[in-house]
Symmetry: C2
Subunit: 220 residues, 2 copies
């Protein structure tokens, strides 16, 4: 009997893609369930994530786990092949530090820089650039945050690797460029060109259409 | 030769106390360095936590780690006695989920409920109560979140166990009471009455004086 592994996600959500990417890196077969998170959350999603009522949720043999970084740690501990975290406690702490930094600082700063009203934009762009600068330094000369292979921080940074360039195309506001952050720019190129990453990414034109619609109707 | 374990903290900070409590639970001797985080951060703090420039920082044999939840995981992995996390991956994920919930949701909601202007207070109080309700349910009939002993979630929730009752006394706004949240109230009582927790807590009168000064000068 195979085990039950289900992912409740949303196709455009970078957080859902994190979970799928980790499972694929480990070679774990799973069933993907698309949620309509804006208009019609399913009773199962509300049952499995009653606190946040958000995707992604991982369901493993009847047990539900929410919060993408918590799920990634669970995946790492449950399926031990193809590690996404270093074994050394200090290196592991550094990976957790940067993954948390990406969620707590980079994600809100980049959203604000790309989508805030013009009056707040200059400051927001500065803050987002500070975040990207810190993140670039954390590469430490490696191809990926995980070294030669993709690890927790690369997975957490997926929205910087893929979504950010599409947002930039829609808003015509450039944060990440080869000129400003050459190492991080190269990372984003290497990341999205991994075959296993490409398997998990949504079609670029569909994402671009969403962002362009948002530019056209900025109150949404 | 003993190992070097230093904690850079601030006496009134619940986040600094988390690190001290975890080290004491493990019986790890450490040197504590008080930082003047408001007026005069030390060059060492800026060196060891250049990204956030905040306490707490753990320095272990020359290696610095920031972010209290990241530090707690490092402590757990480095000193394996007296576990603060369950061994089972799912139970561990649940502990991480609730610790993250405490930081991401409870901490900002409680701060807002206690300190926001009157016009925003009713909604903020409702949100904070929702958080406490969820946190109460997570006790699952146990004395501590760690079961019979203090674990990661108890440590993370220290500000609800100790600081919240003092804030309530200063602001005269009650969030956590025996009437509203009897199980969580009992938990807070049991938590602050643990000898090892009491070793880590600042003097109540000093904390109360800070909060009363803030009530008297609400613009601060």
């Amino acid at each position: 009997m195979g085990e039950e592994v289900k992912v409740f996600g949303a196709w455009a959500s970078p957080f859902s893609r994190r979970v799928e990417l980790a499972l694929r890196l480990k070679g774990v077969p799973y069933e993907y369930i698309e949620e309509d998170i804006y208009k019609n959350k399913s009773p199962l999603l509300l049952k499995y994530n009653p606190v946040h009522k958000k995707v992604p949720v991982l369901l493993h043999n009847g047990k539900a786990i929410a919060e993408s970084l918590v799920i990634l740690e669970y995946i790492e501990e449950t399926w031990k092949n193809n590690s996404i975290l270093p074994q050394d406690p200090y290196e592991k702490a550094m990976a957790r530090f940067w993954a948390k930094f990406i969620d707590d600082k980079c994600w809100p700063a980049i959203r604000k820089a790309e989508w805030s009203p013009e009056s707040e934009r200059e400051k927001a762009m500065e803050e987002a650039c500070e975040c990207l600068k810190a993140l670039e330094s954390a590469l430490n000369g490696n191809k990926f945050y995980g070294g030669h292979t993709i690890g927790l921080v690369d997975i957490a940074a997926n929205f910087i690797g893929f979504w950010l360039s599409i947002v930039q195309e829609a808003t015509e506001r450039e944060l990440l460029s080869a000129h400003k952050f050459p190492l991080l720019f190269n990372w984003s190129h290497d990341f999205v060109n991994c075959g296993i990453v490409q398997e998990c990414l949504p079609p670029k034109d569909k994402v671009l259409a969403i962002f362009k619609a948002r530019v056209a109707a900025p109150s949404n």
